[in-house]
């Protein structure tokens, strides 16, 4: 959805009217790269995470962080002895580092999941896949967001 001049002006007016206090209070809500690492370790444990096999399709530049289409796919034969158990998606700078956990199985046929996500800031998105042999594979993508989501004011 393109931002119209009217929407932009009402948003700009809203921010001016609300003053700087909300911005100050919102800052501590931002997840940090340390929180991202903690969230990843929560899922992965001490296992080593290798780069590759996972593909993250997400636009590199989004106008509106409220709805960002995203597709994660994993190169896997999806047979009963070699399949993807789960796909985990994380972000770096939303108030919470988790985006979603998706649990698959050999009957999935194809290790691919699509959804729409929110991004509060220009940041890195990380997708991690857990394979049936309990190895972890990851990929990261950088997304530039011009209109942030999650923490904006309600008018």
């Amino acid at each position: 959805m393109p931002t119209t001049r009217r929407q932009f002006l009402s948003l700009a007016g809203g921010i001016t009217a609300a003053g700087t206090i909300p911005i100050v209070t919102l800052r501590p809500l931002e997840a940090t790269p340390a929180m991202l690492n903690a969230a990843i370790r929560n899922v992965v444990g001490e296992a080593q995470i290798r780069t590759g096999r996972v593909k993250l399709d997400i636009p590199p530049l989004v106008e509106n962080g409220n709805t960002v289409p995203m597709t994660v796919s994993v190169a896997s034969p999806m047979t009963p002895d070699d399949y993807v158990k789960s796909i985990h998606v994380f972000n770096e700078k939303n108030p919470q580092p988790n985006i979603g956990n998706f649990h698959l199985g050999p009957s999935s046929g194809r290790a691919q999941v699509s959804t729409r996500i929110r991004l509060a800031d220009t940041q890195k998105v990380v997708a991690i896949a857990r394979l049936s042999d309990d190895t972890f594979w990851q990929v990261a993508a950088d997304v530039v967001v011009t209109l942030a989501a999650c923490t904006e004011e309600l008018n």
Partner: protein, 105 residues
């Protein structure tokens, strides 16, 4: 609540089919404030499950970073004719279900 489900009506046995679901939900993050500074309480869908003739084939844990009106697309192998059942559960006891049939030849 209203849900849109897209499952092929017919498939050949062994085909990999795509299932697409969309449900209407505000997915209030719990991080937003009203203009007078009060926090809007979180109200999101936390879990989605898809069962194929009673067997779970896909499950998702959702977080506030999922956009409003959650859309999910995933794949499965068409094994037998029958029914897909979808269930969304979330905050404040939210629960919603939908189903779709498939004919496998």
């Amino acid at each position: 609540m209203a849900a849109l489900i897209n499952v092929p009506a017919k498939a050949r046995r062994g085909d990999v089919i795509e299932i697409r679901t969309l449900t209407s939900h505000i997915m209030e993050t719990g991080f937003r404030h009203t203009a007078d500074g009060r926090l809007v309480p979180r109200d999101i869908i936390t879990s989605f499950t898809c069962r194929y003739n009673g067997t779970e084939i896909f499950r998702a844990d959702l977080f506030p970073a999922i956009a409003a009106n959650p859309y999910l697309s995933f794949f499965t192998v068409a094994k037998e004719s029958g029914k897909f059942e979808f269930e969304w559960t979330g905050d404040n006891g939210y629960s919603s279900t939908a189903s779709a049939s498939i004919t496998v030849e």
